[in-house]
Symmetry: C2
Subunit: 285 residues, 2 copies
């Protein structure tokens, strides 16, 4: 059983209230076993990522090399930052490009919503990661009515077209919603208040957003339903348990890279000739 | 004995041929002890880096938060990539921004040599890493005469002014030259030829550059001498031993962060009031 198969949602009505937040789909063990399982995939993950990176370095104009785009979405405290550390952190930082999307700047607002997104796309060979993404433009924008219903409606289609275009260009889009319960969010917010080294992560505005929890849930449900496509399905990762969240996202990355099956580039030079050239060079003092 | 003190070079003539490439300044143990010592600093490094990141997130216009810029230079195969994995990889990827400088593009060449460098500078709270840097403009540019002697001469001063400006703005510049021997480079190039999974890293041009080893050594010596300042000294890290190289760079980062001494931001909200607000919120179904 793959994590992808266990976690992907179909392009059909989604009922988040019925999707568990504390289950461990695709994995039967406990926390200790989960941490072991995470450590155990490190070597294969690193190997596949390096192959992808190598492809990107050796790409040509007509075959520039492929890439991955991990899109991380979730309510406040759902663990996007922890996932970056615990799952994405397993990968060689040279091959990773993380882009965090905050409230758009004035310049960004003056363009179409995908403008700033395109600027964050990974180059050939790179695993790009979006900490929040273009989905904010159909989530908070819907909940807070920051755009008209017609514009929001247009965006679902625009997103599907955009992601199809990415797939066409060789970027595999891996979409992950970190799914926590409202009760778990309250615990995490209270824990931030209890710990002075976590106060910087606390934003009173998060409690205001929390009052809109049902509206956000609905906005997520519609977004998942409208944009879970065959080429770029959504995955709902139960995220109340941090160890499982990291294990699941790392495995989703692993399975995605396996699917891409990147190959070591072949030498485009004469290996034997180069060896002789090196061995024949005079000693350098 | 700190690694900084053990590895910093003074603003005085530098004789790289006399600086060892296989020693372990600042550390008395062997490889196994070095790997243990590297693992042992992980927690403190992560803590200090998170504090720096937190400062950056909580910065104001007048106090935007500080940052670090690690500049990695070294001959081909000296291990810049390995250092990114083995030392920089210890840090939360959210707080790291790596910029690799290749041969400049046409657009980059149409600007002053520092133009593209400024675009790669870390924002507040970030550990920026330059894989090659503005120093290429006084290294390969000197060796290959890509700029006039007068222009190269001008650049040493421009670099010192630039780095002083960075220090003024709160960016601590940590300059590291990975120092390998010519014999070690040959071993590493031969090893790349021997292993088909490393062919993509091999570039026949590297052997041509290798023929210019003495000229590069001299260019490095002049650059170190002219740009090792009190605020931004150069550190020459013996890099024939990969374990020591990682240990040294990780410790240089650690000591730099200790020197910055970033502090957890204080809450700018009413902690007790927020706790009550959360506890008083009606249950969310």
């Amino acid at each position: 059983m793959s994590f992808r198969a266990a976690l992907a949602v179909a392009r059909a009505p989604v009922d988040l209230a019925r999707l568990p937040t504390d289950a461990t789909p695709g994995f039967a063990g406990d926390k200790a076993a989960g941490q072991q399982a995470l450590a155990a995939i490190g070597t294969e993950l690193a190997d596949l990522q390096e192959r992808l990176f190598a492809e990107g370095r050796s790409g040509t104009e007509s075959a520039p090399g492929r890439s991955v785009l991990l899109v991380l979405q979730g309510m406040d405290t759902s663990g996007k930052g922890g996932t970056l550390r615990g799952a994405v952190g397993l990968i060689d930082p040279q091959g990773v490009r993380i882009t965090s999307f905050k409230a758009p700047t004035e310049e960004e607002r003056s363009h179409d919503f995908l403008w700033r997104i395109r600027r964050g796309l990974p180059g050939p060979g790179i695993v790009g990661v979006f900490d929040r993404s273009h989905y904010e433009d159909v989530l908070i924008h819907r909940v807070r009515a920051l755009a008209s219903p017609e514009e929001i409606e247009r965006r679902y289609g625009a997103i599907n077209d955009f992601e199809a275009e990415l797939a066409e260009a060789g970027t595999t889009v891996l979409k992950v919603m970190l799914h926590i319960s409202a009760a778990e969010q309250r615990e995490r917010l209270l824990a931030r208040l209890d710990d002075p080294t976590k106060h910087w992560k606390y934003n009173p505005g998060d409690v205001d957003e929390r009052e809109l929890w049902p509206a956000y849930r609905e906005a997520y449900e519609v977004a998942l339903e409208r944009t879970s496509t065959a080429t770029a399905p959504w995955h709902v990762v139960p995220a109340d348990r941090k160890w499982y969240r990291n294990l699941a996202v790392a495995n989703l990355l692993l399975e995605t890279l396996r699917g891409i099956d990147p190959q070591w580039p072949l030498a485009d030079f004469d290996v034997e000739g180069e060896r002789r050239r090196l061995l024949d060079q005079p000693e350098i003092a």
